[in-house]
Symmetry: C2
Subunit: 175 residues, 2 copies
Amino acid sequence: MITLIHAHPYPARSRAVAALLAAVRDLRNVEVRSLYSLYPDFDIDAAAERGAVGRATALVLLHPLYWYTTPALLKHWFDTVLTKGFAYGEGGTALHGKTCLWAVTTGGDMHAFSESGRHQYPFATFTPVVEQTVRYCGMTWAEPFVVHGAHQIADAELADAAAGFRKRVQALEAT
Amino acid sequence: MITLIHAHPYPARSRAVAALLAAVRDLRNVEVRSLYSLYPDFDIDAAAERGAVGRATALVLLHPLYWYTTPALLKHWFDTVLTKGFAYGEGGTALHGKTCLWAVTTGGDMHAFSESGRHQYPFATFTPVVEQTVRYCGMTWAEPFVVHGAHQIADAELADAAAGFRKRVQALEAT
């Protein structure tokens, strides 16, 4: 069982994330939890979320990059679901050994994420916040799945990315 | 005028952030906005927040580190207040030239933030997410003010830190 946490603040405007999500919707054993639909008022049901990640063998986080990290509701999910005694600390072993795949889309192209680009740093500079959150909970950090240039990517290229994402999720299923 | 954005999810449990906040409360020209008191339901009044940062000459962000970055409500503030046309993009020059001071407390001591520590990375590895958010809005990034070991820091050491913070904020006032 894979739990996929989907966090897009404006689903109606979503193109790249929507394509990735559509590519895995039919997979058996993938439970999709769309946080902005479930909790439009940020009132996260932490017990339900803990149940969903607890019964999963792997976790997928799927979202657009917002201010260099997760959208706020996914951050709120980290803050309220990944608590001491569940995700870390004494007795906090619920997530130990599960694999987590971070799937993220960005509006900027590769060049934007460089010293001379408008984001001033390579994309990898921004990954440790999410990576170390995952690792601190005892999960295995998979190679992130990143789609850059989500606003301008051609349909064919996006379809390729979606197919690649499907393969990555299927590989998680197999483990 | 300095706008200080204070974000502590559990003010009653706050010690280090509370001490820093207390150290600048009496300063003239410092407007404190406590996000978790103003918006317990995450229903941020973006217009009011834009007014507050727009009339400031400098901005202070004060919060405990939560999962290696800001608590969720401050992330929601970034997502909803720092929007295109206000903070960046065409016409988005409202914050240009203002200085931003990031003041953050961490539960881990310095060693925890190292390759052999439980956070696996030096603290500076986690700064680019907030730093580049600030810079992308055309603000000047000041040297962050960081208090480590907030849970176990001695009263005297915390008092020193609070005095140091007050000086940093006063220096912003003078610019």
